[in-house]
Symmetry: C2
Subunit: 204 residues, 2 copies
């Protein structure tokens, strides 16, 4: 390794920055699971030595934290925009759904990883706590829309929030950006289903 | 092992039948992934020897097949009942959603395993093919309801079917039978969201 010319090392460093290593790591975490992934696995997948890898990041938990922060940061940004918005809560809920679909499309590997977190490390437990906070604040927005008389759900707001975000999260199972179905059409379909349902008229 | 009294062997055999070994296997598959699970892992989790395990089943793929058959058999039974039913397609679609929620609640570990199948073995590829057939037939039911003028979804029927079953499948992430929320209330909430949406009136 030390026999490599300096130019190559420099080129490698410029090719592999934290961002590209993060992309590799998230892919490997998705395949093998976070617990089942070693720094050796990550270095092999990136095609660099473990010591080069450590030049960029402290370890695999830093990569996990960066990935989860990316997903959670985006979700909270969408939530905060909806909370700070003016107008009816049901409109702001719609904005939140659109923002969440957009985030999922833009950061699909990170959102997918977030949804698989089970809480074996401090980083994962912290992410789970932030997900719970997110759920509570979405529930509050649903409750506000209900209090304004705009929602008819007979279930409680926490259940409604759970179902709607279950619907959005399920997109990670099959949606792949770059296909025929664009982000705007996807968001329209999700919002239409969540707010208006499939049926033309209420049950007889 | 051969030093054990015969009574104990008989007791073990009666305690561990295919059904209970299947329950153990599905739990271990869920934790470690099917590919990451060996017969040694399964025998250890069941607390019996590997040869006792082979007395009941041919190998781990048989257990996977039985689990996936349980989930798929239930889903197709619900689908066939909906297809064979009389009345409006939208009503039969509602029956399918209720039947699918009931199956998910009754066979949660098996449905969860089905949703994680990625297609590395013949058994998994066969299950994926049956899932695709299920999706196509649900799409046909949605299209029939649309043709009868009962659905307003502007997206295509395949997308609508995908979103609604994404919503149902997402229940595996958080629903646990035996809690406060019973199966009937859960099915009501899913059907209300899928068919009527959350909003009282259409957008201004």
């Amino acid at each position: 390794m030390s026999a490599e010319p300096v130019e190559v090392t420099v080129e490698k460093r410029s090719r592999y920055d934290v961002e590209s290593l993060l992309a590799v790591a998230v892919e490997v975490f998705g395949e093998r699971g976070y617990d089942g992934t070693s720094m050796d696995d990550l270095a092999r997948a990136a095609g660099i030595t473990k010591s080069s890898f450590y030049h960029h990041v402290k370890g695999k938990e830093e990569l996990l934290r960066r990935s989860l922060d990316r997903a959670l940061g985006g979700l909270f940004a969408a939530l905060e925009a909806a909370e700070a918005g003016e107008g009816a809560a049901v409109r702001r809920l719609e904005e939140l759904l659109r923002g969440s679909v957009a985030l999922l499309v833009a950061e699909l590997p990170h959102v997918t990883l977030l949804l698989r977190v089970r809480g074996n490390t401090e980083t994962e437990r912290s992410a789970l706590a932030r997900r719970r906070e997110f759920d509570h604040r979405v529930t509050a927005l649903v409750a506000a829309a209900e209090a304004e008389g705009d929602l008819r759900i007979s279930a409680d707001p926490a259940l409604a929030a759970r179902l709607v975000f279950g619907l959005i999260n399920s997109l990670t199972e099959w949606y792949r950006p770059g296909g025929e179905l664009g982000e705007a059409a996807l968001a329209d379909a999700v919002v239409e289903l969540a707010l208006s349902g499939l049926r033309v008229r209420p049950a007889e």
